[in-house]
C-alpha cells in the first residue's frame, strides 16, 4: 500500500565502546520510510548515515555496539529483537542493500551469475537453474547489454558502472520491499552516476519499493528523493519533503549545506563556495545543548542552555532548532532555495 509506513525508527541511540572509550555515534534518531518513497540521508562524512543504515540491517559488529534506547520497526516487526538467524532471512530478502564501491563489492573469484543466483536460492529456496534464469532476467532489467554472455563474467571483467548495475540486479532479484543504497554513485564518474540514479528511480517506480538513498550530495537529493533527512554528529537536525527542506531550510546546518552547494549558471562564477567553519565535535560525551551551536551562524544564548526539541516547521517538515524562522528568512534569496519555492 503506497503511503503506509514501512520502516519506522524511533529515538534510536547507538554507542561504540572500545579501548578509545565511548563514542555516541547516534543520538535520538527518529525517522520513517513510507512504502514506495525515496528517503535520502544527507550530512557530511562521519555524521552517522552508514551507521544508521547498518543498524537497520543489524550488520554492525556484535561486540562494542550498544543500543541504549530506541526501536527499529520494519513492517510491524521489531528488528532489534530479532535473532541473527531471523535477520539472515530479512537481509537480502525484505531489505536489500548496495554499497559505495562496486569495484570491491563482489567476490572476485565467482561469476556474477553465481553471485546473483546464490542470493536467489537462499531467499526463494529455488533450484540453481531457476535461480540462474532469474539472474539473467535481472541483468536484462538493469539494462546490461548482452546479458546472456555477461552472466558468466567475473567481476574484474566489468566496468565500475556495469558492476553497480549488476549489484542492483543482485539486490533486486529477491524483490526487496526496501532498498538501502549507501552512496551508490560516489565511486563512479558523473555520467555513470546519473544513469545509476535514473535506474534506481525507474525501478522504484516500476517495482513500488521504498528506497533509502544515502549521499553527502544535496544535488543528488534534489534530483532523486521524495523526502530528505539531514544528519549532523549522529543526530537528525532537519527532516521533511525535499521541496519543503530545500525551499524553506529551517536548521543552521541545512543552511550551511545549501550555501556550500556549487551554483549553476552565472551565479556559479560570481560567488565563491561557502564552507561551514569549524569542525564536527567529538562524540565521546553527550552535550546538554544544541550539538551545532559552536558552528552555527544563527546561534543565540538559548541554544547553549538545552538540547532543542524537534519543531514542526510546516506540513511534512521538522527541524531540531530554536531559530527556524531566522534561518528560513536568511536563505530566502539563495538561488537554490528560490528554485524550490
Amino acid at each position: 500500500m503506497m503511503g503506509e509506513t514501512f520502516l519506522s525508527v524511533d529515538n534510536l541511540s547507538l554507542t561504540f565502546s572500545g579501548k578509545a572509550g565511548i563514542h555516541h555515534a547516534l543520538t535520538d534518531v527518529s525517522f520513517h520510510v513510507d512504502r514506495g518513497e525515496i528517503l535520502s540521508f544527507v550530512g557530511e562524512s562521519g555524521c552517522g548515515k552508514s551507521v544508521t543504515a547498518m543498524s537497520v540491517m543489524r550488520l554492525l559488529p556484535r561486540y562494542g555496539v550498544e543500543y541504549p534506547a530506541g526501536s527499529i520497526v520494519l513492517d510491524g516487526e521489531d528488528l532489534l529483537a530479532k535473532s541473527e538467524r531471523e535477520m539472515r532471512a530479512i537481509r537480502g530478502g525484505k531489505i536489500g542493500m548496495i554499497f559505495q564501491d562496486p569495484m570491491t563489492s563482489f567476490t572476485p573469484v565467482h561469476t556474477i551469475g553465481m553471485q546473483i543466483a546464490e542470493t536467489v536460492s537462499h531467499h526463494k529456496g529455488v533450484s540453481k537453474r531457476v535461480a540462474m534464469a532469474r539472474a539473467l532476467e535481472m541483468l536484462d532489467l538493469v539494462r546490461i547489454p548482452d546479458a546472456k554472455n555477461r552472466i558468466g563474467a567475473y567481476p574484474h571483467e566489468l566496468s565500475g558502472g556495469m558492476r553497480q548495475r549488476v549489484m542492483i540486479a543482485m539486490v533486486l532479484a529477491c524483490d526487496p520491499e526496501l532498498l538501502i543504497a549507501d552512496e551508490p554513485t560516489t565511486a563512479l564518474d558523473v555520467t555513470v552516476q546519473a544513469e545509476i540514479l535514473e535506474l534506481i528511480t525507474d525501478l522504484r517506480r516500476d517495482l513500488g519499493m521504498s528506497v533509502i538513498l544515502i549521499t553527502h550530495d544535496l544535488g543528488v537529493v534534489a534530483e532523486t528523493a521524495d523526502r530528505v533527512m539531514v544528519m549532523y554528529a549522529g543526530r537528525v537536525v532537519e527532516e521533511g519533503a525535499v521541496a519543503a527542506v530545500l525551499g524553506n531550510p529551517a536548521h543552521g546546518y541545512t543552511a550551511g549545506l545549501i550555501e556550500a552547494l556549487p551554483l549553476s549558471g552565472a551565479a556559479y562564477h560570481r560567488q565563491p563556495l561557502k564552507e561551514i567553519p569549524g569542525a564536527v565535535p567529538r562524540l565521546d560525551h553527550l552535550v546538554e545543548h544544541c550539538i551545532y551551536a559552536d558552528r552555527c551562524g544563527f546561534v543565540t544564548s538559548a541554544c547553549r542552555q538545552a538540547v532543542p526539541e524537534r519543531q514542526v516547521v510546516g506540513r511534512n517538515h521538522r527541524a531540531t532548532c530554536l531559530n527556524t524562522g531566522n534561518v528560513t528568512s536568511a536563505l530566502r534569496d539563495n538561488e537554490i532555495v528560490r528554485a524550490w519555492q
Binding site: 539472515r88 564501491d101 572476485p108 565467482h110 567475473y154
Partner: protein, 313 residues
C-alpha cells in the same frame, strides 16, 4: 587457460636444467678426488684409475656433464658404490613409504590447519584465536623428533593404539599402511600444520576486511558459506603457495621421521647413502627431491588458475 598451463610448463624447463647443473657441480666440485673417495682407503692406484675411467672422471667437466645429463634423462643415474645396484632402482624401491608418508601428512595438515586458521581469523583476537595460535607456535618450535617420541610414548607404548615403529606396505592393504603411518604423519603434521594455520589465518583475515564480505552479509548469507565458498576461495592463492613451500620443509622432516619410526623410505636411504659416502646415490636423491619440488611448484602454479579467474587471463 591452456596458454597459462603451457607457459608454466615451459618455465619449469630452465629451472630443471639449472638444478641439474647445480647438482652435478655439487659433487664434482667438492674438494677431494671423487674416485679416491669412492674407492676407499685400501684401494690400489690401479683400482682408483679403473673407477675414474668407469665414472668418466678422466674427461673434461662439460663432457662429463653431457654424459651425466643424457644418462639422467634416460633415468640412468649410475649405480650405488656400496651395493652396485642402479640408483634409480634403489630410489624406486623406497618411493612408496615416503610418498605415502608425505601424502598422509599433507591430507592431515590440510584437514587440521585450514579449518583452524579460518576459525582463528573469523574470531580474530578472541580466546579461540589465541588458543589456536599458541598451539601453532608450540607446534612450530618443538622439533619433530621430540614430538615423535612423545607421540610414540603416549599412543604406542601407553595406549597401544598404534605400532611403535615400522611400515606396512600397500600390498598388506591400505588400512594397515595408514595405521603404521599415523603416528609419523601426526608428528610431521604438527610442524607443517602450524605454518599453514598461521598463513591461513593471515590470508583469511585480510580477505575478511574486504568489502565483498559486507555484501555477502547484506545478502543474508550464512557465516559458513561466506567463509568456505567465498573467503577461503579468495584466500586460496597464498595458502596453496605456502603449502608448496612447506613441502620443502616436509622433505627435511621426512628424513628425520623415517629414522625415528624406522620407515624404509627415501629419507632412510639418504641417511644411509651419506654415511656410506655413496655419492651416486646422494646425487640421485638430491635430483629426485629437486624434481619433486619443481613438480609441486608447477602444481601450485597451475592451482592458482583454479582459485583465481584473474590469473587465467
Amino acid at each position: 587457460m591452456p596458454a597459462y598451463i603451457l607457459g608454466r610448463l615451459a618455465a619449469a624447463i630452465p629451472t630443471l636444467l639449472l638444478v641439474s647443473v647445480f647438482i652435478f657441480l655439487l659433487v664434482h666440485l667438492a674438494p677431494g678426488d671423487p674416485a679416491l673417495l669412492i674407492a676407499g682407503d685400501n684401494a690400489s692406484p690401479a683400482q682408483v684409475d679403473q673407477i675414474r675411467e668407469r665414472l668418466h672422471l678422466d674427461q673434461s667437466l662439460p663432457a662429463q656433464f653431457v654424459i651425466w645429463f643424457s644418462n639422467a634423462i634416460q633415468l640412468d643415474l649410475g649405480a650405488s658404490v656400496y651395493s652396485g645396484k642402479p640408483v634409480t632402482v634403489l630410489i624406486a624401491q623406497r618411493i612408496e613409504p615416503t610418498f605415502m608418508l608425505a601424502a598422509y601428512t599433507m591430507v592431515l595438515t590440510v584437514l587440521v590447519a585450514i579449518p583452524l586458521g579460518t576459525i582463528a581469523a573469523w574470531r580474530a583476537n578472541g580466546l579461540v584465536d589465541r588458543t589456536i595460535m599458541a598451539f601453532s607456535v608450540a607446534g612450530f618450535s618443538v622439533p619433530v623428533f621430540v614430538t615423535s617420541y612423545l607421540l610414540v610414548y603416549l599412543f604406542a607404548v601407553k595406549l597401544r593404539w598404534f605400532p611403535v615403529q615400522g611400515y606396512k606396505p600397500l600390498s598388506d592393504g591400505i588400512g594397515a599402511t595408514l595405521v603404521s603411518l599415523t603416528l609419523p604423519s601426526i608428528a610431521l603434521m604438527l610442524v607443517f600444520a602450524a605454518l599453514i594455520a598461521r598463513v591461513t589465518r593471515a590470508a583469511v583475515l585480510e580477505v575478511l576486511q574486504e568489502n565483498f564480505v559486507r555484501t555477502l552479509k547484506a545478502k543474508g548469507m550464512s557465516t559458513g558459506r561466506i567463509l568456505v565458498l567465498h573467503v577461503l576461495k579468495t584466500a586460496g592463492v597464498p595458502i596453496v603457495t605456502v603449502i608448496g613451500i612447506g613441502f620443502a620443509a616436509l622433505i627435511g622432516g621426512v628424513v628425520v621421521t623415517e629414522s625415528v619410526f624406522n620407515i624404509p623410505g627415501i629419507g632412510r636411504l639418504t641417511v644411509d647413502a651419506i654415511v656410506r659416502r655413496d655419492y651416486p646415490v646422494v646425487q640421485g636423491i638430491i635430483l629426485f627431491f629437486s624434481v619433486t619440488l619443481i613438480l609441486i611448484n608447477l602444481m601450485v602454479d597451475l592451482s592458482y588458475a583454479l582459485f583465481d579467474p584473474r590469473v587465467r587471463g
